[in-house]
Amino acid sequence: MAQRASRLPYGVGHVSTAWIVSAVLLGVVALAGWYGWSREISEGMIVTGLRNIGPMGGATWGFDIAFVVYFVGVSFAGITVAALIRLAKLTALKPIARMAEALTVVALILAAFAIMYDLGQVWRGIVNLFRYARPQSPFFGTFTLVISGYLTASLIYLYLDGRRDAAICARVPGRLQRFHRLWAAGYRDTPAERARHERASFWLAIAIVPLLITAHSTLGFVFGLQIGRPGWYSALQAPAFVLLAGVSGVGMLIVIAAIVRRTIGDHEQLPDEVFRWLANALLLLLLAYLYFMVVEILTNVYTGAERERDVTRELLFGDFAPIYWASVACFVVSLGLLVARFLRTGPSIGLLVTAGVLVNLAAIGKRFLIVVPSQTHGTLLPYGTGSYAPTWVEYIEAIGLLGLGALLLIAFAKLFPIMPVRDGDAA
């Protein structure tokens, strides 16, 4: 990398009108979401569709929690892929390493927001969690391991992995130069530094993989340990969470990779092989998860206790059947698309993206179905069946978070190369 770079790679720093338009739109969406939150803070959570379990026949956890679980799930894939690339030397996937890391960081930020949306006393919550948090509450792991540890780990991984590219970018004069130089922090790509980074990232990866397994498990335990809620109390919860996390995350990664490939129009940088890898991963995870679904349903309808069966019945044929079967349909269709790849010559990115979107929709649906029915239809005392319908506040909060996530990602893409820079690319 002796040569002087004249402009930043992958359109970093170069702001097109299309980018501005989309950024503004996404910004508006994000602000709308925060407006919803402001209503919630000022009026109380009465503006949501949530109500007390039992006499009030409502669900006290709804959209917010469902999206916490979903976002944390999405975050799974990013850092996993990055770590696996490092550990298993999957050089083929190297181009998507950074967008994977970025996806993780963004998803975790969104998850943190979603949790705050769900608190009745937000500011008090932030203080008291740091002050009084109890390890025997499954919620402890969610916010120490997931939000704190996991987020730090991914940030650090992203930072260290990016130093080399930062050093390259730092050669290019411009508004971002100082930022890039700060990021590079004196990285000069000497063999010694390379070796050092190799070692550091190896150990980071080693540390991260168990962390994310435990982190996602704790999230599963938030539900799986509750004997009071039929449909939750199951040893399958934790592993199922990890699997569905992988499914939604990899699906999202495929979508992002395709978008990047489209916008940058550099097919050498993101060869079909990358997508083949992702598609295979998604296929395996999806099969495993569907297997889990079948096992769970079978257990509940075959030997499940009366209330367990009630909840399952609601899922399969009752009030929640539309969402349930829609999710299943999404899974099956994307499964079909992924298999169809093998019949065709060369992967069709279009099909993969569709599959990616579908599995994410299905994942959101499944998260919703994990959270809600056990509350409205799973009361152990005969309160009768309840109901839960999100209000505009909850919808706008969720949409706002999605918009915020997209905004953060495209902003990142303008501040920093979204893909590792090949030697001499910056010329």
Binding site: N52, D118, L119, R134, S137, F139, I227
Partner: protein, 245 residues
Amino acid sequence: MARYGMVIDLDRCTGCRGCMESCKIENDTPQGTYWMYVFRFEEGEYPATQVRFMSRPCQHCDNAPCVKVCPVGARYKREDGLVATDWMRCIGCRYCEVACPYGVNSFNWGHTEEHYYFDWNAEEVAPEVRGTIPPWDNPSLDEPYGPEQRHIAGGGRLKGVVDKCTFCVQRVENGLDPACVHSCPVRALVFGDLEDPASAPSRLLQSKPSFRLLEDAGTEPRVHYVGGNPPTTETRQIEPAKAEV
């Protein structure tokens, strides 16, 4: 140290819901919120229909799921057996609510008001209540209780926190029975020290076969029922109280 508990005689309960009303007045809970709830059950089909009643306070479990899951220790178990909610610490995550198999927790969804049912200063009400302390002015609700000196009494004191039946800690610590027990016209509710075999609840408990709700959940409730059967999956609730906010 007394370890309190309640024994409910289903033979006596007439389902009049007087306990619900006295509870709301004593603890000033918001509209649509019932710390004490009286089920009206029916079983079987006409003409072989049976109607039964069952009052359901917080079970004050010895192995309380809500205490386990509370992320900040706002929900805690007291030495005297009461399960209390420190609404000065609660962050409103409502985990206790999803963890509780009995559905006894209630969240303060909206703004807290000075008066949830009557403005005692309104001109049509004032003459009726002149000279009495309105529920929201009950001074004992704002005081800290127990050796921990934590704020656990009263309902709807703060927006965005969870509260639930306290066995009227403000009365119990002053040697009185909880409001529901005090006001039950047929003495179906009996409150006292379950450790003391001579206490009224212990004696009632020994006099008849008893059960506790959802025993197989392993929550070890401190509320016992005598003179009846636990609700089955065939039991339907009728005439539910209006619980809307």
